[in-house]
């Protein structure tokens, strides 16, 4: 098991190299001079040249990538072009915000998605099934930012019960400020999870061991809770893992709508201002998180499914 984890962590290295390589080259080869963006439309040619030199933009691109990677190996993510602040500091400052948003969204998604999926599956083809699945589908179908704006207008502006933006300080304000963004972010995942749960529950229902359980004379409740759920969980866990990964990186729109100080927004802002070290830093961070989350998912798998556990042991 430890060996397995170790191997998976080692896999991070090529992923990080690949991710930085792709992002570095896309950003560098694209038109638009970081110096010009920083200095704005009122900068003189000399100032631009000065800035370029200062940022080391005059070196050939491979030299710059090489330098970057060398620094990275030493644990140095560089400093931001725009404000000379340490990239690591900036990313680590924002990361918990994105993380908590992703966690709460996932929780909301699970809380809504799993029960909905189960009820739908148990009452397949019923009215209930259809309605909940249609609602779930609508959840997937709305552009996130649109849903976000509508939620704000309704809950903040009209009902005045929840803050419209920002991240609250202190427990209660934090929770309150989390509700709208995590709901608008989690809505889509909730739908995905609900549908996933439904189909994997239906899958399980058809299995022979469920017939065996019935033949034992077990009650439906025990069959559902004890025999079906744990088996149905396995594909759901994959879905949740992937969703969590997407939420981590994909919260850019939500973060913008809700002025949430997360990595997603940092990334957009830094892409727009071509603050390459900052973009790279956030991407590396997200890539690591993504990999770690998937690793955790795989480990959780092993706990749910003894077959997988013994596979890891063997490796």
């Amino acid at each position: 098991m430890y060996k397995y984890i170790f191997r998976r962590v080692l896999m991070l290295i090529p992923v990080i190299i690949g991710v930085t390589f792709i992002v570095f080259f896309i950003l560098n080869l694209s038109p638009g001079d970081p110096a010009a963006i920083i200095l704005g439309d009122q900068a003189t040619a000399e100032a631009l040249e000065m800035k370029r030199e200062e940022l080391g933009l005059n070196d050939p691109i491979f030299v710059r990538y090489g330098n970057y990677m060398v620094n990275l190996v030493h644990g140095d993510l560089g400093t931001s072009y725009r404000n000379n602040l340490d990239v690591w500091d900036q990313v680590i400052q924002r990361f918990p915000n994105t993380f908590i948003l992703a966690v709460i969204s996932t929780l909301i998604a699970l809380l809504i998605g799993i029960p909905t999926g189960i009820t739908s599956a148990l009452k397949q083809y019923s009215m209930m099934d259809n309605i909940s699945m249609i609602i779930a589908l609508i959840g997937v179908s709305m552009p996130v930012f649109w849903l976000g704006l509508m939620l704000v207008i309704f809950f903040s502006l009209n009902l005045k019960i929840l803050p419209s933006q920002g991240m609250g300080v202190g427990f209660i304000p934090l929770i309150k400020s989390l509700i709208l963004p995590s709901f608008s972010l989690g809505a889509m995942s909730a739908a995905v999870i609900a549908r996933m749960t439904r189909s994997s529950m239906l899958d399980v229902t058809r299995q022979d061991y469920i017939s065996t359980a019935r033949a034992k004379g077990l009650s439906e409740k025990i069959i559902t809770n004890h025999h079906m759920l744990k088996n149905a969980m396995i594909p759901i866990i994959t879905a949740v893992g992937l969703q969590f990964g997407t939420l981590l990186g994909g919260s850019m729109l939500t973060e913008t709508v809700f002025s949430w100080p997360g990595v997603g927004r940092l990334m957009i802002d830094s892409i727009k201002s071509k603050d390459i070290p900052l973009v790279l830093g956030s991407v590396i961070f997200l890539a690591i998180m993504f990999t770690v989350v998937n690793l955790i998912v795989d480990i959780v798998y092993a706990f749910v499914d003894p077959r997988i556990k013994s596979q890891y042991k063997r490796k």
Binding site: P14, L27, G32, F145, L149, I153, L248
Partner: protein, 300 residues
Amino acid sequence: MEKVKNANKVSEQRSLWEDTWRRFKKNKMAMIGLYFMIILVIIAFATIVIDIATGQSFYNQHIIKQDLRRRLEGPSPGHIFGLDEFGRDVLMRMLWGTRYSLFMGTIAIVLSCIVGGVLGAVSGFYGKVTDNVIMRLMDILLAIPSMLLAIAIVASLGTSLINVLIAIAVSLIPRFARTVRASVLTVKDQEFIEAARAIGCSDIRIILKYIIPNSLSPLIVQFTLGIASAILSIAGLSFLGLGIQPPTPEWGAMLSNARTYIRDAWHVTAIPGLGIMFTILALNLVGDGLRDALDPRLKN
């Protein structure tokens, strides 16, 4: 348990696709979705025909011509969905925008489906090092948030229709690669592949004639669902100011451009918003319907 059919009656024979269609037809929601999509396709083509027939003059007169004095006017008998922030008829723009939402999504998906499909097939079929290399590549693509990838690509190549397409296509590649690989892996070990080897088929022939046709169904489902997420991605890019150039009446752009007016005139956001929502809903319904119809376990 397979049902033994009475093969004595030739009239009863159905191809696999007919079978699928027959099951699909039974699913009311999926049919509603399908009808909706057909209507959209008809609209898209009709508007294109009108554009060609009138040499863009209809487009210029009714789709992009502004009437700023009447901006944000609410629905009225003359303009049942009201006017947008430039005093243009929202309904007309919705109709003319159909093609973008529909075809851009589709083209992006076709692109990523081809690239991802080939990668996935090769990866699954050859396994070992090839598989490892391709799948790690896909991991890398997956580890970069898809929106970020799209933004980076659009930001670097510029905001044009083509670039938005490329961006979305690239970010969807891993999805297809994984789907195809998974189904290739299940198909690969079936005996009929071995049977093909036994008669001397080459790898290429096996991939083309045996594996791909049999991995098609999950791909088809991914396809419909992929179009849906492509449409949403386009809207998301528009929200970040990286979508399609004005005054093109693309729905995502309409929605995100009008979002500042969400409190002043509900219709300018609600109409494109609902348009997107229903389209995606329809695509999802069709996708789900296909999934069920193609699922061999549900055959009875």
